[in-house]
């Protein structure tokens, strides 16, 4: 039987050449003890040969009480590759900021080695700790073992996807709010929305501590919370002098690179015209010892980011320019819930919130969720010069 499974994989072998780590080498190593991975290699080789994927789209599997967290995968060549007939993915909710102890990592790997293929995808674009490849009949056991060890499944399908954030204040002095705490808070508050899909489509939250946006929340989430401040950048003039003494060319590396030209260097003294600052973060990143975000911190809330699936890609745009981000985040949660209510009512099947807003118009959207329209919400000026002012509309006039 074992010999039968020895397959030749000339195309995959190419990927082992060169100086770089190779997933093929890793797969072969695991294939020695996992027949499932052996068939996976076989199927992948065939896909490379035929230039065609051999996974069927979707599938519906899950664990008791949850609608999300497990994604069904089936091979379309079950006779040829019986051990990957089922190859389901399980998403494990990752800790805020991806902080693990080695004990925790071992625990996860042990559970996965016991029931599944042993292959993981640790923090790819989905964000979760992803277990790749298992049969349907072990799903409940995986879930039970994970629960016992204190883990939970993440989101999948039309639900709140596992919220994720940057390292935040745990490692970064630029963080303007506690991204880790907020992520955990949202995860526990919206358990029902996370595990039991009821939305028209997926919903992603991402929390970034500052406008550097290390988690790329602006592009990767429907609702991005990006830390910011509304007072002045704090300047330590002694540290500025130290940078100068150490040879930093502040004029060319900082002043001239400011996109809004709001920094001046006179002698050893740096000054910033804060009202012109667009929070590009360049000066703070270059001179992190001398410059720090202001003290009145909070976050900007942006809405509508997504990757292209049903429609093209969208970047988030500003919904609320500044909101204080403090426990228990009541103001934020009220905003979210009013957005969900709107989306539930008016969103069509498989329509992300960004697409929904485009369809109904931002004006209608902000009115429906009870926000005042403000200039910051305008991401670009309109190109149509004909404007209809409602103020000029008088009672008795007929609407055309």
């Amino acid at each position: 039987m074992a010999d039968e499974k020895e397959r030749k994989t000339p195309l995959l072998d190419e990927l082992e050449k060169g100086r770089w780590p190779s997933f093929v080498t890793d797969l072969k190593k695991i294939a020695e003890r996992k027949p499932m991975v052996k068939d996976l290699l076989g199927q992948l080789e065939l896909s490379y040969k035929e230039k065609k994927g051999h996974w069927k789209h979707g599938g519906l599997v899950g664990v008791r009480g949850y609608g999300g967290g497990v994604i069904g995968r089936y091979s379309d060549l079950p006779e040829q590759f019986p051990d990957v007939k089922m190859f389901h993915t399980t998403r494990v909710n990752q800790p805020s900021g991806w902080f693990y102890t080695t004990k925790a990592l071992r625990e996860l790997c042990d559970i996965w080695d016991k029931y599944g293929s042993g292959l993981t995808n640790v923090h790819g674009s989905t964000g979760d700790f992803v277990f790749l490849g298992s049969n349907t009949d072990v799903l409940e056991s995986i879930f039970t073992d994970l629960s016992k060890a204190g883990w939970d499944l993440g989101g999948s399908g039309s639900d709140v996807r596992t919220p994720s954030c940057c390292n935040g204040p745990a490692r970064c002095e630029l963080a303007c709010y506690d991204t880790l705490d907020m992520t955990y808070d949202l995860t526990t508050t919206y358990q029902d929305e996370l595990h039991r899909p009821a939305f028209v489509y997926k919903w992603k939250f991402k929390m970034a501590g500052c406008p550097n946006d290390c988690v790329a929340s602006i592009a990767r989430s429907d609702l991005a919370v990006i830390g910011t401040w509304r007072d002045n950048i704090r300047i330590d003039q002694a540290a500025v002098k130290e940078y100068l003494d150490n040879g930093l060319d502040i004029t060319s590396d900082v002043v001239l690179k400011c996109p809004n030209q709001c920094i001046r260097l006179e002698g050893n003294e740096l000054s910033i015209k804060n009202e012109d600052c667009v929070k590009c973060m360049h000066c703070l990143n270059v001179m992190s010892k001398a410059l720090r975000p202001g003290e009145d911190k909070g976050a900007t809330i942006l809405i509508g980011g997504k990757a292209p699936i049903m429609e093209g890609a969208l970047l988030s745009s500003v919904l609320v320019p500044f909101m204080k981000m403090e426990k228990p985040y009541t103001e934020f949660k009220e905003l979210i819930e009013s957005i969900w209510e709107f989306w539930d009512e008016y969103g069509v099947a498989r329509e992300r919130i960004g697409e929904c807003i485009q369809r109904v118009g931002l004006g209608n959207f902000v009115e429906a969720i009870g926000l005042e329209p403000i200039p910051q919400m305008v991401s670009q000026p309109r190109d149509n010069p004909y404007i209809f002012y409602e103020e000029y509309f008088e009672e008795g006039d007929e609407e055309e």
């Binding site: 789209h57 979707g58 519906l60 599997v61 899950g62 609608g67 399908g157």
Partner: protein, 114 residues
């Protein structure tokens, strides 16, 4: 090839997730058999409210209703003013409205996004 379930002396084709292939193959007896595969021991009156609604909706629109509608309509049919919670549906059908309830109602597999 393919999987099947046995209802009385009839064999009904199902897909790899256990969904019935043909709409007309479904019967109340088939629903009872399918229920067992979804951890529902017995279909009660409350289960049938959901199952019947799913079948009626599908007959009319040829698509499964959105979950929000299921929650609203179930609430209405139970004589409540408010929609039932999503959790209520999961208590009846532990694998949820899409996998559990739709399968038992004989609807085709809903295509969700991964």
């Amino acid at each position: 090839m393919g999987d099947f379930i046995e209802v009385g002396d009839k064999k009904i084709d199902v897909d790899e997730d256990g969904f019935i292939h043909k709409w007309d193959d479904w019967s109340e007896d088939a629903a009872n058999v399918l229920a067992k595969t979804e951890n529902v021991d017995e279909l009660t009156k409350e289960h049938w409210v959901v199952v019947n609604y799913l079948r009626e909706y599908y007959t009319q629109y040829k698509i499964a209703p959105m979950i929000r509608l299921v929650l609203k309509e179930t609430g209405k049919r139970l004589g409540q003013e408010k929609a039932v919670s999503n959790k209520y549906i999961y208590e009846l059908f532990p694998s949820g409205p899409a996998k559990g309830a739709c399968k038992i109602a004989g609807l085709p597999k809903p295509t969700g996004c991964v």
